[in-house]
Symmetry: D2
Subunit: 357 residues, 4 copies
């Protein structure tokens, strides 16, 4: 109930603070006999790793994952898989006033109000560093889903700048540091983000994840709808303030005629003629692509001084020194992918339990 | 795991189909000695009740709630509270082709694909009728939260038409059938919706819920963040396709300077100078108003024929006859309020368990 | 968390007090397309029904079950199955001092201490009446398990009198009001229990349940072992004070040589040469019969006055008037069967989720 | 659902195999600001440690615990507490036939049947080594319960030899390697167990745990009764085959008069005149001592050859070489204590959530 476990049948429990000795998670419920190695997990962690471009935090973390249990002779055994990632770049230092001050837009104030104590070093438990273990868990979820399911994220907006969907190219993502599927947009974003970075400012972003190959029938229709669980999963990522499925908020402005995903038969199979629904009807997957988006707010860790208070009720002004992250959304795409993989793996097992297959 | 239970410490389990003998729910975990009566619950059900204006479904349901357990001599006893609402207006009829055809935008296709069987009468379990029991559970959640917490919903957009926030008046909501807080907008909406209704078309909507008086400290920070649970709760309501907290998707376009909720001291207390965050930081309530929005899609049950298939793989055209709901979002506001009440009550108990107070 | 839900994938949530309008439960997670009717459930309820012999409580309850949801055209739909049993024989009366006094051996004192309020009418929620809904849930669990699994209970001891295992005859059980598998013992028990009844005294009992046909591989090995879950299930039945699997406490006095269940091959299949383990190794079913026993204490509702106190701290003497139950264990066998059916159905679905098949 | 998490509000998730690099657990839900250090946990681990006398397994394991998260500046922070214990004495060796053969009385056969794969090194996940992490979690549970609650275990029977309750002396336990509270019995047991050991045989045991100082009111009365959860907790310990509360199975042979725990007032407080119930009525603690017992079977790892089969269906004879454990029950007392501590801590938080206080 303290909220550090995600999922039901495929579940993981995470632990660790930004500047403790390590972070990690325990994945429970993975089916036995799945081939898995540390390298299978590392490949996804490397995509999320900090310090890979000038547009993300300069913290140097190799993020090397170790599997401590649950895998024997190269396959899962059905027992819990414990994974551990050491914290290397902890930059031990004098925290001075930081430890008593509340950074606006961060959880410093609320953690202290809730618990009466907080690990102030680098944000402690609230640090986005925790998302590394989500990516590790997601790597195992992908194994559970199998090769038939593909989950890909893209950044579709930074600040006010959106991609052009007509230029969408999944291949482009690997070629720029922004997870941008639009090569022209990626070029413009580079200049824009350099300005933001130099100004010591920050901007928000929108990430879109597409899951292809998801079989029809996943989802528990009333309170654990597939879209409900995706919404919860994405909203749990640091700095996320909004989640959409399919047409999302735009659907509110449509008419029933515009929004209807009509059906026909093709080659003896049911097909949808559009996908306003984002691959989910009544909380259950339709077999179409599942499309989800999330909005990431800009961080308040900026050069411009912001007004705040400290734990003693003294008014202060804060100004971020040292590492600076102009667009925290840039590193959120692999985390969003991982969370959706975990939701789908969970629902795959749930569906198998109740409905077989 | 079949998804009919919502919440952890304050939880409810719901059951019932649109055209079965009744629907109901069991609320478990409510603290003992809370004064409660059927009338306390009925008042909220009456707000959601169908057939109250020409803009919502004409199904006639008194939605009278009976308490079958858990309340003794006017107070809760700490044991489960079973509530039952009879289905009165079931309009028994020949379902003809309807029982084999898939209505676009509904879960007919996915239910059958998942379960291999479905109760086709009025949508069965997927019917929005199920949301009545959410409202009943929410009424008890409000008792758990106490009078200090106020949760109010409003429709802020129908189709492309938004309210003007400068004209926001909570009192206005009771004076129009649209849950609209802007009296001028309400007038315009009436004409607009009459057109939609006469055309046999439908439109989407955006609902905003504000929870005031929520104490600081509620929320389990990592995967059960308060905003995660709100997102899940709202996304689980029929036809919802998007959820936002605070500035939501608009935050993506802001800079860190614009988005920062600065803090000062006032009367010896910490105060925020703005509320872009929507009352939640790091998944924990700040003590400010919690502000959440959800987008409701237009129903595909319209007069214009839409292309679909039936369970035998035959291509068909569907056209809605009989009852027609031009804006299903209009009845979603009390449901959204109720779900947020349940989330808050659950987190209140969770907070009490771990942190006391 | 308030403890009124049992199970995980196959689960039921129960509600109701002894003298409220009704009791009931919601079964969630049952696979779709299982043929089920009220008659299928009633047959099990009739076995538990009070008033069937002079050796059990004389409360007259038809215990007629109604299915309110989740079954359509004779089969389960995968949605929650709500079942309701009306309380008929509530004997409304003046409770007088009873409502303030604590009956020794009952939960009157602890309920009031915990909740600060209690429904004192007939024991309220703590009444064994609640076990009727367990039997109803168990009837559905049996459907989930299928005809290949047979779960049968027997009373093997009342007071100090045990059955002779060499005379064990499952057929005998239907021929006596004691669930006794030993016809000679049953005769002696009749005289013995008549004495107990006339003396206004009470005695304990031991019930043994055997589940045959359980496939190998059910159970989650560490904390949700099959035997752990059976122990919890049986210990949750009113008045149960001990639970054993296989040889149980007798195993403590054995040597490793005596206790070993050796294995051989027969007809190409693994067979065990004995079953000290009671069909479970490492928390996982072996495919042998699962054998579990539970000890039921004698009720303290007796004619001899017993010393107690009331809620105001006044010392009192209590003496049971009216209905009297000389051996509450006699009606526990069908409840024990039902609980084990529910545990097995839950683990069948859990196994299917993780390991397929 | 894979069963590696114990508890609800105070919960721990464990991982690790006997011969993997380490074992560990993540404790979630502990209240913040509890003073705790590795030394606080180590003291309990040292009591369970193998190799401390000739009567227990000779595996040499320092069992040194490391806290990796959740504790900051000497106190808990409310975030998950990750603990890790390295496996030192893994004795890497050629497993030869062992890896294919099923040891009677062990879970070799059932693990392979369930998962289709197993880590055969030293029992893998089914090894009693896993119980070390339960002791670590229990150490934190004790902190949650506070100094007012004392939980003490004793071995009250080995093989057929019981302690004399009139000679019960809690102090004696620290003075013999048997957790025996009867000094005379301890002396006799020494000779007896030496014989068992030299014969390469094994015997069972009964462990009794007493929890003093537990406040009245803990327990969720229907399916999560305090005794149900204790039964589940104890039955989940390796080799346990029976669980009793209070008089347990002996209660079945008592009359209602004999079994009644009468009540009087003393110094203005309710007192019970006996404790047949073992401190629990209706699933809720009474404030008296909670008394629970468990039966541990003798291990089948003995010198006498026992008949078995291997995974290929070949009949074999097995004879334990190397390390040998004449009475596995001897090391179970601290594990039983720990599990009961965890159950009580969980119910303390659950009670606080629903009923305050």
């Amino acid at each position: 109930m303290a909220g550090n476990t995600f999922g039901h049948l495929f579940r993981f429990t995470s632990w660790g603070e930004s500047h403790g000795p390590a972070i990690g998670c325990v994945v429970d419920g993975a089916p036995p006999r799945l081939p898995i190695s540390e390298a299978d997990i590392q490949v996804w962690l490397d995509k999320r790793r900090p310090g890979t471009s000038r547009f993300v935090t300069q913290r140097q973390e190799p993020d090397t994952v170790k599997i401590l249990s649950g895998v024997f002779e190269g396959v899962t055994t059905g027992t819990p898989i414990s994974m551990l990632i050491e914290n290397v770049d902890q930059r031990s230092r004098d925290y001075g006033e930081v430890k008593d001050q509340f950074r606006p837009g961060h959880a410093d104030y609320t953690y202290l109000a809730k618990y009466g104590v907080r690990d102030y070093r680098g944000g402690g438990r609230q640090s986005a560093r925790e998302t590394a273990v989500r990516v590790a868990a997601g790597a195992i979820a992908r194994k559970v889903l199998g090769d038939g399911v593909s989950i890909r994220g893209a950044v579709v907006q930074i600040g006010p700048h959106k991609v052009d969907r007509d230029r969408w190219d999944w291949e482009a993502i690997a070629d720029n540091p922004f997870w941008c599927p639009d090569r022209q947009a990626a070029q413009r974003w580079e200049g824009y983000l350099d300005e933001v970075r130099k100004a010591g400012s920050s901007v928000g972003a929108v990430i879109e994840v597409t899951a292809s190959g998801v079989p029809v029938g996943l989802g528990a229709p009333i309170y654990d709808k597939l879209d409900s669980d995706i919404a919860r999963a994405l909203m749990s990522i640091n700095a996320v303030k909004g989640v959409e499925i399919g047409d999302g908020f735009a659907a509110a402005a449509l008419s029933g005629e515009q929004n209807a995903d009509e059906m026909r038969m093709a080659d003896g199979k049911a097909v949808f003629l559009s996908n306003h629904a984002g691959g989910i009807l009544g909380g259950i997957s339709t077999g179409q692509d599942i499309v989800a988006r999330m909005a990431v707010k800009p961080t308040s860790s900026i050069l411009t001084p912001v007004r705040s208070i400290d734990r003693f009720g003294k008014e202060v002004e804060l100004r971020t020194k040292g590492r600076h992250d102009p667009c925290v959304g840039l590193r959120a795409a692999p985390v969003a992918e991982a969370m959706i993989a975990c939701v789908l793996a969970d629902h795959l097992l749930r569906h198998r339990a109740q409905c077989g297959g």
